[in-house]
Symmetry: C2
């Protein structure tokens, strides 16, 4: 599935559908899920239709036993040897290049 072909709204909807599918696979009702996560039934409904807070997603995924997926979601970005060399081993804390007239094309170089 290529999410880049979808609009933001489209992606939200797809995520909602998948969460619902996860819940149904465990045969849990929205009400049960709401009670288990201590969020309201309304919030579960909204989430399954695509809108909600990040914290809600996390609470629900925990209850559905799908928390480990988050690791793939936003993986710990690894540092390229090239960058590591350029920065003498230190981690960059701020984006930079601001004082340049024309910012160099972002080097996505690896």
């Amino acid at each position: 599935m290529d999410f880049y072909t979808l609009s933001d709204k489209g992606i939200e909807g797809e995520i909602g559908r998948r969460i619902k599918a996860l819940r149904l696979r465990k045969n849990i009702t929205q009400k049960e899920l709401a009670e288990a996560t201590t969020v309201s039934l309304n919030t579960i409904k909204s989430l399954e239709s695509g809108s909600g807070k990040l914290s809600t997603v996390i609470a629900v995924l925990r209850e559905l036993g799908a928390l480990d997926q988050i690791d793939n979601f936003i993986p710990e970005p690894s540092i390229s040897p090239l960058q590591l060399a350029r920065m003498q081993g230190r981690q960059r804390e701020r984006a930079s290049g601001g004082r340049r007239k024309h910012r160099a094309e972002d080097d996505a170089e690896w």
Copy 2:
């Protein structure tokens, strides 16, 4: 990394840190990211500290070129042959068992 050992707040923080790391890896400032996603600078700050809406996460991940990760995040749940048989091929649309006195232990059977 085992997210189940973290609290919800802890996970939110970790996600924020990873998004920030993704941004820094591309050497983009918060301001630039805000303009590119048409969300405010404030919202980017908040997101990187762990709070925000699902829609904000999506917009930011799109801009950072990490949208494809969502597929792993909440994978399309596959149906087990067992369940498929029980339901005569139809997809379940509602959780059930509600009319039972004591709900059977959720069969996570595959």
